[in-house]
């Protein structure tokens, strides 16, 4: 076999400028919005009111039992109709593959972040809530300023681990014909007949990023253990 790594070098501007930019945008958007939504779901799941906790539980368990690929696929086709129903429009609203992907990943990740944050909230001692209420904070203020910051801190390793998985999962957007990092590599590889080189390079980049991130997780784990 003759490798031609020139093909890779020439592809770098496209791979990173288009592919990786998309992958990172999707990862960061879904991670940040998913964390907010997931935290909200976690607080709901821990509510003593069944009317609040049960729907949140159903949402989380449903999304966690469907493969992501199916969620992406179904959501893309259903979204226009849901959009029309919400806004009361008479025709399906087409929001496009890009927005659909961001919304889907956000909704999907929220389910996983919810479970991490739920464990995080439960890891904070009950006395902390009592102390917050005792100085006159409302339940909501105590949650926001006292419980959640500690929950996030305690769960930082798990949260980062989940973001690494999300980062890898974003490559599934190929079903929507979107071009992420992997997709960009595949495109160029097919065009130039250099699939092997490009796939090797793409794999290497994924590996470097994920491995570095996992070292960060190790570091965070050690730090949280010391802090407690």
């Amino acid at each position: 076999m003759n490798f031609d790594f020139n093909a890779v070098i020439q592809a770098i501007p496209y791979l990173f400028g288009t592919g990786m930019t998309f992958t990172l945008t999707l990862t960061l958007a879904a991670a940040s919005m998913g964390l907010v939504l997931g935290t909200l779901l976690a607080v709901m799941r821990l509510s003593p009111y069944r009317l609040v906790s049960v729907p949140a539980g159903i949402y989380v368990n449903t999304l966690r039992s469907i493969p992501l690929l199916l969620v992406i696929f179904w959501f893309y086709f259903l979204m226009p109709y849901i959009g029309a129903w919400v806004t009361g429009a008479s025709r399906p609203i087409n929001i496009g593959a890009y927005k659909s992907a961001i919304i889907t990943f956000t909704l999907f990740e929220a389910a996983y972040f919810c479970e991490i944050m739920r464990a995080g909230i439960q890891s904070v001692s009950r006395g902390q809530m009592a102390a917050g209420l005792a100085i006159g904070l409302t339940y909501r203020q105590a949650m926001q300023s006292i419980i959640l910051p500690q929950a996030v801190r305690n769960m930082l390793p798990s949260l980062v681990t989940r973001v690494i998985i999300l980062f890898q999962d974003t490559s599934l957007v190929y079903v929507l014909s979107l071009t992420d990092f992997l997709g960009a590599g595949a495109k160029i590889g097919q065009r130039d007949g250099r699939l092997v080189e490009l796939y090797l390079f793409v794999a290497l980049v994924y590996w470097v990023i994920c491995f570095s991130a996992s070292r960060v997780v190790k570091f965070l784990e050690r730090r949280t253990r010391v802090a407690r």
Binding site: S125, A131, A134, L137, S145, A227
Partner: protein
Amino acid sequence: MIEFNNVSKWYGEFQVLDNCTTHVSKGEVVVVCGPSGSGKSTLIKTVNALEPFEKGTVWVNGISVGDAKTDLPKLRARAGMVFQHFELFPHLSVTENLCMGQIKVLKRNPEEAKAKAHALLDRVGLLAHKDKHPGMLSGGQQQRVAIARALSMDPMVMLFDEPTSALDPEMVNEVLDVMSDLAREGMTMMVVTHEMGFARRVADRVIFMDGGKIIEDCATSEFFDNADARSERTRLFLSKILQH
């Protein structure tokens, strides 16, 4: 200042508080003691509504705690509470611990809150530690910060739930000293503690609880010096606790 009228509370079948009636007057220091599980914590936590109750009424400065219309955050802001395990906020600095309630609840501006925080830290002898996180302080220091945090809200009454029982023996006195000073300045206090020396020196009245009932409720000297008038259970408890 605080009035308990026939307060009862149940956990399912189990009755934690059984018809408790007593009061704490303005400027009075009342010590609550009794065996483990007798309902002491539950009783003082009804004052700031951390423990709801099923029957009876609790009045704090003319406000009914159990009333659904009562603004609980407002009530709690005026009743300082000190916990057995300090419950400082570990993700915040000592100063931030003292500013949280002032800013979020009393709406003081951050400068004013900080000045007040530092004055209080100075008062409990911990100004040098103002920028540290609670985890870096000893138990005794943490509990003094917790007292300062409660004081930052200008409370009209202070509630203490076994403030020294999680401390190493050599740190107990630094906390009791701060509490004694507070009492001398006329603070209304309700203190759950087994420190009988403190009770004898500082308390105006002593309440003894057992099985959710208030068994004794009398002046400090009467409680300690007139053993014959005490119930069997009280004498047994006192003999156990005063042994060491």
